[in-house]
Symmetry: C2
Subunit: 151 residues, 2 copies
């Protein structure tokens, strides 16, 4: 129920980059989930709304390519967003396989709200680091991400 008050891990584990990454990611996930959950959203909702807002109306397949979210999850997440009238699904007249997904005004409002939450969470997450250190971390992680994910 509550945080146990002891060692995070054995020596052979706690120095491992992969462990440090997954653990700090778990912290980040706790913070993000907490923040978004407090306003009835979760990570995929934010990521999809942000992707959609940036790309303009698109197909679900394109949404998948631009968000890094799997197509099957796109379908499910869009169902949830559409139910709240944050996005609109309409058939594409020029290609009848496709749906055109559009973010609604309510969706844009929600997105702006979620963005505020997310920004606050970043600050909580990075609290112990100076500005230079934060930038350093972002640069290092970006390099790792650029390298993998083209695999």
């Amino acid at each position: 129920m509550e945080t146990p008050s002891t060692d995070p891990a054995p020596v052979r584990v706690r120095g491992l980059p992969s462990w440090l990454l997954t653990q700090t990611a778990a912290s980040a996930h706790r913070l993000v989930s907490g923040g978004l959950g407090a306003v009835g959203a979760r990570g995929y909702h934010f990521r999809l709304l942000a992707t959609l807002d940036e790309s303009g109306p698109t197909s679900q397949a394109a949404l998948g390519r631009h968000s890094g979210i799997h197509l099957s999850d796109i379908v499910a997440t869009l169902n949830e967003l559409a139910e709240q009238d944050l996005v609109e699904r309409s058939p594409d007249p020029v290609d009848r396989r496709r749906n055109v997904i559009t973010i609604t005004p309510a969706g844009k409002r929600k997105l702006r709200h979620l963005e505020k939450v997310i920004v606050q969470v970043q600050d909580e997450l990075l609290e112990p680091l100076s500005n230079e250190e934060r930038e350093q971390l972002v640069r290092l992680l970006t390099r790792l991400l650029d390298h993998h994910g083209r695999g």
Copy 2:
């Protein structure tokens, strides 16, 4: 099935530390899972065996405190490890609530094997970074982890 060949994320998302962390952690998890999965293990197995090897025979509750794994997951993971004779569960004579968990010789052999796998994976994970950068990353993540996780 295969990697989509496009943008990882929209601008408002791809600079977020929380997103970078969870995505690099996902890469790390893919690599670790792949490596461990190839020898029939997963993260909890390695972490528990390592914790156990370091602490010597202990109770499950202590194991939970020292590994950062939830008690309920400890139970399930120990069931799996015991089934493969990598650990032994025996009742504690001085406190009959407790089980004393001991790593077996086979468990130690397995642990040594898993360690090799894990070390290789670290190198794959950090490939694009210099040694100094790797140390930097480890320091920054450790600071974050020390800060959070104390509640």
